[in-house]
Symmetry: C2
Subunit: 484 residues, 2 copies
C-alpha cells in the first residue's frame, strides 16, 4: 500500500470538485473499493466498522421498540413478485435473476431480493391466524440487489446492506402509528448517532414505494447542497395483505386483512457521513460511529521506544479500559506528521500526541479532528477529559451540520425565485404545491428538483400561497431539492 500512501495528501479539494473528492476520499480512507463487476463494491474493514456501529445503534433501538430479528430467503419466485401489481412494475426493471441452479435450468426464475415484501407476505399468510398473533413486529438484516445503471460507492450500488422491518397490525390507525414511530426512530439515529440533522415527512405519491399507500422519509442535506434520502418508512395499507391473503380472525370472529408497514435504512448512510462531515483533509467521523475514536501517536524522537512508547501504550490501554475504541500507531516506518495526515484522512475524531517532553511533564496533547483545536491534558486526567471531548466533538459536528441545513432552507414565493435558488445556491427550497402531478413533473424536468418531503404535521405543511409552478391553490408546503 506504499504507493498509495505517497499520494495520501493529494486529495482533490472538496470545494473544487465535490464528486471527485467523494470518490477519492472513499478510496484513500479505505472505506470501499471497486470490483471488476460494475456497480459492486467491497466494503473494506474501515468502512465496515462504521456500518457495524450504525447497525448496532439501529438494532438496539429497533429491539427496544419491541421488534425481533429473523431471516428470510435471498431468492423470491418470480410469480410472488407479480402478485402485487405496482410492486412488480416498480422493481422488475432492476432485478437480477437466477435461472440456473447446479447444472439445471430452473422451471421458474428466482429474483435475487430487491426487497422482501413478497416472500415475507407469503410466510405471514401462513403464520397469522388470529388477532392474538398481532402485532407481528419483525426486522431483517440482509443484503439486497438492484441492477442499477449509474452507481457510486455507498450511495447507489448494485448490492447493498440494509435492515428491513415488516410489521402487521389489526387496524389502520395502529399501522399508521407504527409507520410514524419508525420514522422518528430513524430521525433519532441520524441525529443522535450520525450527527446528521434531517427533515422528516411524507413523499408525494409519485415518489412512494412501489406497493405502498404512503411513504415517509428522513432527508438530509449534503454539503454540496444536494439532498440524500437517509431512510424510508412505508404504510403499505392492505395492498400486500390482499395480494398474499394475509388474514386474521378479529375480536368479533370476522376475517380481516392485516395492515402492514415496511421500512429500511441502508449502507447509504455511510455516504451521508462522508458528504455531510468530510473536509479537504478527508473524513470527519462523529465519535459515536467512528471505527477509531482516539488515535495515540507517540512522537518518534531519539530513543522514543524507551522513553515515549511505554507512556503512549499506557494511555491507549487506560482509554480502552474506559470503553473507548483506541488505536496506538507505533509504526516505525512512518513519521508523526505522516501519521497525522493519514488519521485525519480516515476521520479519527481525536488525536493524542505524546513526546519526550510530555512524558516528563506527565501530559499529552489532544487534537480535535473537527476544529483542529489543541489542548494539553494531564495523563492522569485522560479518563475524564477524553470522553468529554468526544461528546463535544459529536455535538460540534451536529451543530455545524445543523447550521448548514438551516442556512440552506429557503422559501420561494414564485417559480423564478425557485429556479434561481436551485441554480445558484441549491439546498432545500420550501414552496407551495398544488398537489398536481403535472406541476411536480414540470419542476423535475426543468430544475432537476423533486419533492423530498412534505411535513407530516398539519401546521408545518399548511399554506395560503399559490402553487409555485401553476399558481393554482397551494395544498401544502413541500421541501424540494436536487437529490442523490
Amino acid at each position: 500500500m506504499k504507493e498509495k500512501d505517497r499520494t495520501m495528501k493529494e486529495l482533490t479539494p472538496k470545494s473544487e470538485d465535490f464528486s471527485k473528492w467523494y470518490v477519492e476520499v472513499v478510496q484513500k480512507a479505505e472505506l470501499a473499493d471497486y470490483t471488476p463487476m460494475k456497480g459492486m463494491m467491497v466494503i473494506r474493514p474501515h468502512g465496515y466498522a462504521v456500518w457495524e456501529n450504525v447497525r448496532n445503534a439501529l438494532d438496539r433501538r429497533i429491539k427496544a421498540a419491541g421488534h425481533v430479528n429473523a431471516y428470510f430467503p435471498l431468492f423470491i419466485p418470480e410469480s410472488f413478485l407479480q402478485k402485487e401489481a405496482e410492486h412488480v412494475q416498480g422493481f422488475s426493471p432492476e432485478v437480477a435473476w437466477v435461472t440456473v441452479g447446479g447444472k439445471e435450468e430452473l422451471e421458474e426464475r428466482l429474483a435475487v431480493r430487491p426487497t422482501s415484501e413478497a416472500i415475507i407476505g407469503h410466510m405471514y399468510a401462513k403464520w397469522i391466524k388470529s388477532w392474538r398473533d398481532l402485532p407481528v413486529l419483525i426486522n431483517q438484516w440482509a443484503n439486497i440487489v438492484r441492477w442499477e445503471k449509474v452507481t457510486r460507492p455507498f450511495l447507489r450500488t448494485t448490492e447493498f446492506l440494509w435492515q428491513e422491518g415488516h410489521t402487521c397490525h389489526e387496524t389502520a390507525e395502529e399501522c399508521e402509528a407504527e409507520t410514524l414511530r419508525i420514522l422518528d426512530l430513524y430521525r433519532d439515529v441520524c441525529e443522535a448517532e450520525l450527527a446528521v440533522p434531517v427533515l422528516t415527512g411524507r413523499k408525494s405519491l409519485s415518489e412512494k414505494f412501489a406497493g405502498a399507500s404512503m411513504t415517509y422519509a428522513v432527508e438530509a442535506l449534503m454539503s454540496d447542497g444536494k439532498a440524500l434520502q437517509m431512510a424510508t418508512s412505508h404504510n403499505l395499507g392492505q395492498h400486500f395483505s390482499k395480494a398474499f391473503d394475509i388474514r386474521f380472525e378479529d375480536r368479533n370472529q370476522t376475517l380481516q386483512y392485516v395492515w402492514q408497514t415496511s421500512w429500511g435504512m441502508t449502507t447509504r448512510t455511510i455516504g451521508a457521513l462522508i458528504m455531510v462531515h468530510g473536509d479537504d483533509s478527508g473524513l470527519r467521523f462523529p465519535p459515536r460511529v467512528a471505527p477509531v475514536q482516539v488515535v495515540v501517536v507517540p512522537i518518534s524522537i531519539g530513543n522514543w521506544k524507551e522513553t515515549v512508547l511505554p507512556a503512549a501504550r499506557a494511555a491507549a490501554e487506560s482509554l480502552r479500559a474506559a470503553g473507548l475504541r483506541v488505536d496506538l500507531d507505533a509504526r516505525e516506518e512512518a513519521t508523526p506528521g505522516w501519521k497525522f495526515s493519514e488519521h485525519e484522512m480516515r476521520g479519527v475524531p481525536l488525536r493524542l500526541e505524546i513526546g519526550p517532553r510530555d512524558v516528563k511533564a506527565g501530559q499529552a496533547v489532544l487534537v480535535r479532528r473537527d476544529t483542529g483545536a489543541k489542548e494539553t491534558a494531564r495523563l492522569a486526567d485522560l479518563g475524564a477529559r477524553v470522553p468529554a471531548l468526544l461528546d463535544e466533538i459529536q455535538a460540534g459536528l451536529m451543530a455545524q451540520a445543523k447550521a448548514f441545513l438551516e442556512a440552506n432552507i429557503r422559501d420561494a414565493a414564485d417559480y423564478a425565485e425557485f429556479k434561481a435558488i436551485l441554480e445558484t445556491k441549491r439546498g432545500f427550497v420550501r414552496a407551495a404545491w398544488c398537489g398536481g402531478e403535472a406541476c411536480e413533473a414540470r419542476i423535475k424536468a426543468e430544475t432537476m428538483a423533486t419533492i423530498r418531503v412534505i411535513p407530516t404535521e398539519e401546521a408545518a405543511s399548511k399554506t395560503d400561497r399559490p402553487c409555485v409552478s401553476c399558481g393554482g391553490a397551494g395544498q401544502a408546503l413541500a421541501y424540494f431539492a436536487r437529490a442523490y
Copy 2:
C-alpha cells in the same frame, strides 16, 4: 397459531424416530419454517435469536484474535471461480447462476457465492504489495448459496448464514499456526458457549476443502450417534495466491506468493444445539446462547392479576436489570401448565413460577429445564441464585454431552468389530488407517462411515496397529463415523 398450539405436546419421541423428532421440534419451537422454494428456509425469530448469540460469541473471539470484518460482493464472475482448478471442480456442481440483470442477458454468468475465496483473492492481489501489509486478517459475515439436492433445516440448506475468515501470511509456518489457532477458537466456542464437546483434527485429503492444502475440523456427536462437522479451518497454502497472483515484496525485496487460510462456521451449529441437547419435551438451550434464559410464569389463580402479577413483574424486571434475557409470560388465554410445556418445547433453561402462596412467603419456585429439578428461592435472593443456577445448567448440559461423547468413542481392532460398532451402536470408531484412499473409499461404501478427524497431535494419532481395512501398516489413528 392456535391450531398448532393444540398439537404442541404431540412431539414424536426422540428415541422413536430421531429424524421426525428433529423436523417437528424445529417447527413446533418456531426455530425455522419451510418456504415454497426447495431447500430454502426462513429462520424465525426464536431461531435467529440463537444465531445472534452464537454470532456475537464468535465475533467477539474473532476480533479479540486481531481480525477485522469486511464485506465482499454476493456475486463472483464465472471466470474467477475457474482460476483455481480444484476449487471450480468442487463447487461448480452446486452453484446458482445469475444470467439476467434488469432486462439484459449478462455477457458473463455470475455465481451466487458458494464461498468467497475467488473474489477475495482478486481483491487481495490489488491490496497487498509488501510484507508490511501482512498479515491480512479479514472476516466476513454473509449468506451463502449451494444448490443442494437433499436438504434439512439448519443442517443442509440451499442458503445458509456463516462467517468466513480469509487471511494472508508471510510464511508457511505462520499460516499453519493461524489455521490451528482458529481451529482452537472454534473448539472454544463449541464447548464454552454451545456446551457441545468436540473432537478436533485434520481431514483426510479426500475430505478436504476444494483448493486447500489441508482442512482441519471440529466434529461433534449428535445424540443419534451420527457426527456433525461444526466448523472447518483450511490451510490454503499458495493455491489461491498463485491462481490470483497475490504477491508481496518480502524483507529481502524478493517477490513471494502469500500463504493463506480460510475458515467458516455456519447456522448449522443451531442444528447441533437441537440434536445434542434436545429431549422428548423439545429443546434444551444452554443458557449462554438461549434466546430467553428465564421465563417467569405467574400462577393464574383467583385474582392473580392483583396478587401475583406485580410480584412476577418485579422478579422479571430485577433479573433483566441483572443483564439476563427474561420473558414474562402473562398471557390470559393460556393456563400455567400450557405455558410450562410451551417454554419447555422452546428450550428456555429456567422457569420461575410464582403463585399466591409464594407471594405471601416472599419466594418463587425455580425449575430447571435440563433436569426438571425444582427449588424454592427467596425473591430477595433471585439476583444471586438465578445466574448461579444458569451456570450450573450450562455446566450440566456440557457434562451430559461430554459423558455421551466419551461413552461413544470405541476402539476397533479389526474390520468385523468396526462394522459391528457402526451397525449396533454408531458413535465414533477409533481405528488405525494405512492412509490409502482405497481403504477409505471401501469403508465408506460398506459402512457409510467416513474419517471425521485425524488428531493433530502426533501422540494422539500414533499407532502401531495394522490398518483396520487392509491390514497394512497403520499410519495414523483416525476417528470414523457416519455423519450428517
